[in-house]
């Protein structure tokens, strides 16, 4: 009799232990079930509030404007007074090919603090693992009068004489003497597209830092010499800036 009771107990115990609880087993989901051991494929996630910070460095230190203290690869001493640029098609990606466009075009002007942070609230949660963006505007977007009501109009307009559209970047300052101004202006000149796309792995989706190493526009793979002459119509110089830009101007962390 005693044995029968023990057997019944053992069977009951093993039955209850075998009955696994179903539910959401992802700890970051809002309906995460701590008791669940079997994924029912029905997890809900809170929307993501994405902040993208744009940071600017020269030779690994934070940019200081208006100081004639920087030296480039051709031994020119230079200052930086103006830095404005466009980043477009800012997109988050998951490993299985889901894409979310965060912003079509974002204008950054280092003299306007509000442009240095881009906040995109209420993004549907996905397991995003990378971010991609375009420096400048690709040829589909780089069309005269396409962005009449954006904050980079009118100052970023690129004359029709040089192919129309918009500047990608206005990087300006003095070099060697305060009497020499340089204007490193990039854009799609004479119908050629000099924009480029970059993709970076990300770990923290809420806070993404897009960093520009300004000095790298002027080196690697090719040295770029500052000039008081305009470079907007200079296809050779635009080509150098693009290839230097793709290489290592941007990083993300």
């Amino acid at each position: 009799m005693k044995n029968i009771f023990l057997i019944v107990c053992a069977i009951a115990l093993s039955l209850s232990a075998c009955k696994k609880e179903e539910g959401c087993i992802d700890p970051i989901a809002i309906n995460y079930n701590v008791d669940a051991t079997l994924d029912n494929g029905d997890c809900d996630y809170a929307p993501i509030n994405v902040f993208i910070h744009f940071n600017h460095y020269v030779n690994d230190t934070a940019l200081v404007v208006n100081e004639m203290t920087y030296t480039n690869s051709t031994n020119d001493i230079y200052s930086i007074q103006t830095l404005r640029y466009l980043i477009s098609d800012i997109t988050l990606h998951t490993d299985n090919g889901i894409e979310t466009l965060l912003d079509e075009v974002h204008f950054i002007d280092i003299s306007i603090d509000s442009t240095l942070i881009l906040n995109i609230p209420q993004i549907n949660y996905q397991n995003y693992t990378s971010i991609s963006f375009t420096m400048g505007l690709d040829s589909i977007k780089n069309i005269t009068n396409l962005f009449l009501n954006e904050n980079f109009f009118p100052s970023f307009v690129w004359p029709e004489f040089l192919g129309g559209g918009y500047h990608y970047m206005q990087l300006e300052g003095d070099f060697n003497t305060v009497f020499n101004g340089y204007a490193t202006h990039t854009g799609g000149t004479n119908g050629l597209d000099f924009s480029f796309n970059k993709t970076f792995q990300i770990t923290d989706i809420d806070n993404i830092n897009i960093n520009m190493e300004i000095a790298n526009w002027y080196k690697n793979p090719e040295a770029f010499e500052l000039t008081t002459d305009g470079i907007m119509g200079d296809i050779n110089k635009q080509t150098i800036l693009k290839s230097n830009g793709i290489k290592d101007v941007f990083s993300v962390n």
Partner: protein
């Protein structure tokens, strides 16, 4: 007996009084959105008169963004007409000798031909009177940008001691006592007392109609006319980095809504411009880029009217300008300049004259 009578009469009175309301309710306009809304009226007698203005839609010229129109001051026919009248009325000055239009003449691109303008008491200002051309697209106003809206801007000259030198209390008194203005303000804004807020709103509405987009250059872009070879040559220099006019005077607005130090002076500056407003030394001697539309008629030029001709202006850029801490890097060759030939300089001026819009100047 006496007491009973009083009570009886009292009851009858009460009865009559309460019945009166039911039998003969106050009638009038019961719609609280009407101009003649009667708060005591119970039955509507169909007498409501509604405030009704005629909206104006601004047609955006080709290549222009949408105009900056504050949501609380929409454009109306009534508001613009009132603003036009105020703009030209000397009632807005202390001794009733000057109107806005006294220093902002249509024939001079709504500027005047003086280097500095004299106020009602003969005092001279220290900056050249601004033109009023396409000001509806300005992000800021005055050479130093201290007024963000046209409404805000209009508050200033009327009470400036060296300009129209009146007080708002006095202006409100004069306008409210006037034969015409109370009705005009009622029709434009549905107000019974004229205040400074609505004076500047009307003036701003009028100023937003000062649109110039029908110059020879516009007609050229629309394929309606040809430019001469000299004008075309100037157009090309203007839009090349050789002339490099377009970075500040680009687009069909011919201005960038920004501030620059274009190398006019060495330090110390006599006029800090934007720097005086922001208290930021890096803004010293920066001034708002003016549009070049109708520039032919707005001489003299620069914030201090130092240049009397367009040739002198071109020569300033051609010579490269002066160094100072805040000079714009786009003045790339200080002291050396653009090195344009005489022909190129003439071409540039010829192109600038294609920005003349005779309709706007009122000479047609």
């Amino acid at each position: 007996m006496k007491l009973g009578t009083y009570i009886f009469l009292g009851i009858i009175l009460l009865f009559v009084f309460s019945c009166k309301k039911d039998l003969a309710p106050i009638s009038g306009c019961t719609d609280n959105t009407a101009v003649n809304f009667n708060t005591n009226a119970i039955t509507d007698d169909g007498s409501c008169i509604f405030f009704n203005t005629t909206p104006i839609t601004i047609e955006t010229p080709s290549g222009f963004p949408n105009m900056n129109i504050p949501s609380n001051n929409p454009m109306t026919v009534e508001g613009v007409a009132l603003g036009n009248k105020l703009f030209h009325d000397k009632i807005l000055s202390g001794n009733e000798m000057q109107a806005c239009a006294s220093c902002h003449l249509q024939s001079a691109s709504f500027s005047d031909t003086n280097q500095f303008s004299a106020g009602i008491d003969g005092f001279l200002g220290d900056r050249n009177a601004s033109t009023l051309v396409n000001v509806g697209w300005n992000n800021s106003n005055f050479w130093d940008g201290r007024a963000s809206s046209l409404e805000e801007q209009a508050y200033d000259p009327i009470v400036n001691p060296i300009e129209m030198n009146d007080t708002w209390i006095n202006i409100e008194m004069k306008l409210n006592a006037d034969n015409e203005y109370p009705t005009l303000f009622k029709n434009a804004f549905n107000i019974d007392y004229i205040d400074s807020i609505h004076v500047v709103m009307a003036i701003a509405q009028f100023e937003r109609t000062l649109i110039s987009a029908n110059s020879k250059f516009d007609k050229y872009l629309r394929g309606e006319t040809q430019l001469t070879s000299s004008e075309l040559g100037g157009y090309a220099i203007f839009n090349s980095e050789k002339g490099d006019c377009f970075h500040c005077h680009g687009t069909q607005m011919f201005m960038d809504n920004l501030f620059h130090n274009n190398g006019l002076d060495i330090e110390p500056f006599t006029d800090l411009g934007l720097g005086k407003i922001t208290n930021n030394a890096s803004d010293n001697a920066k001034f708002k880029t003016p549009t070049l539309r109708n520039i032919e008629f707005s001489a003299p030029y620069m914030h201090d009217g130092r240049f009397s001709t367009l040739e002198e202006v071109v020569e300033h850029y051609n010579s490269g300008g002066e160094y100072s801490l805040t000079v714009d890097p786009l003045m790339k060759k200080l002291g050396v300049g653009l090195q344009l030939t005489n022909q190129e300089k003439q071409d540039l001026v010829a192109f600038l004259r294609t920005l003349t819009d005779s309709d706007f100047i009122g000479s047609n």
